[in-house]
């Protein structure tokens, strides 16, 4: 029997990696913008929120009526500001090397999630064709 959630956490992880690469690309585009503060996505927190698990010991704010603002969405989308390693005269906190490294690592993680999904599809195809395809 095929499980409901075929690709596990990887479809959600792909979303988060995409969002993170967008944030990092924005940091890199604003390398020379005065007073720009570099931001990043807290991957573990966002993925936990996306996959529905709440933090241990903490109850999520209940939003029973439609239109009320719940806490889950806010923490999930909140971006954190990077702590600068070096001060700069124009108040910009983008460190090109740090951002480039993070962007490269992010791309590798994205590809890892992609290959997990590909492997899952291959496995199913093997099961369907009985190894004949």
């Amino acid at each position: 029997m095929i499980p409901d959630n075929l690709f596990g956490i990887h479809t959600k992880a792909l979303d988060v990696w995409q969002r993170r690469s967008e944030v990092l690309a924005n940091n890199l585009a604003n390398t020379d913008t005065p007073d720009f503060k570099a931001r990043d996505v807290d991957f573990a927190k966002v993925l936990a929120a996306a996959s529905g698990s709440t933090d241990a010991g903490r109850l999520a704010l209940d939003a029973p009526a439609p239109g009320q603002i719940g806490s889950a969405n806010q923490t999930a989308n909140a971006l954190a500001y990077r702590v600068p390693t070096q001060p700069s005269m124009d108040g910009n906190t983008v460190d090109e090397q740090v951002e480039q490294a993070a962007f490269a690592a992010n791309g590798v993680h994205y590809q890892a999630s992609l290959s997990f999904i590909t492997a899952q599809i291959r496995m199913l195809r093997t099961a369907i064709t009985g190894g004949q395809g």
């Binding site: 979303d15 995409q18 969002r19 690469s21 967008e22 944030v23 690309a25 924005n26 890199l28 585009a29 604003n30 390398t31 020379d32 913008t33 005065p34 720009f36 931001r39 603002i69 969405n73 806010q74 989308n77 909140a78 971006l79 090109e96 480039q100 962007f103 490269a104 791309g107 994205y110 590809q111 992609l114 999904i117 590909t118 599809i121 291959r122």
Partner: protein, 139 residues
């Protein structure tokens, strides 16, 4: 899909940096220009960058939409004058007014702009590869 918006973000960065390179080229080309009055003298130009933020719903911080150029500012540094009575542009007292371009500043700006441009190109290339891999998903 947010990978597509990276093309816009990196594209805005490339556009901003190429405008910066453009002002550098203009400044360096006019480094030795002279004029008859201090007002007409060439002043060093520099673009002013600003981050683009899209305002969306409460508590939802947007990833940002790249960078834009607010405008080009002219340097307020003093205009140097030289005594050159033989120059056809000299004023009644024999002075010409040169530009206030500092070539060292411009070269530093040029290196910084071209590095930042390359960074944005790299971001675009990596994103293109990731999208290509996503298209090949399951093959």
């Amino acid at each position: 899909m947010s990978l597509f918006s990276i093309f816009n973000v990196a594209g805005s960065g490339m556009a901003a940096q190429s405008l910066r390179l453009n002002t550098v080229a203009s400044n360096l080309a006019n480094a030795d220009s002279v004029a008859s009055t201090p007002e007409a003298a060439y002043r060093s130009r520099e673009p002013l960058f600003s981050a683009v933020q899209k305002q969306v719903g409460m508590g939802n911080q947007d990833a940002g939409q790249g960078v834009r150029v607010l405008g080009v500012s002219e340097s307020q540094a003093a205009i140097p004058n030289r005594y050159e009575p033989g120059n056809p542009l000299a004023d009644a007292d024999g002075y010409v007014y040169a530009s206030n371009v500092n070539p060292v500043d411009e070269l530093v700006n040029m290196i910084s702009a071209s590095r930042s441009y390359q960074n944005n190109v790299e971001v675009m290339n990596s994103t293109r590869q990731l999208l290509q891999k996503t298209l090949d998903l399951g093959k």
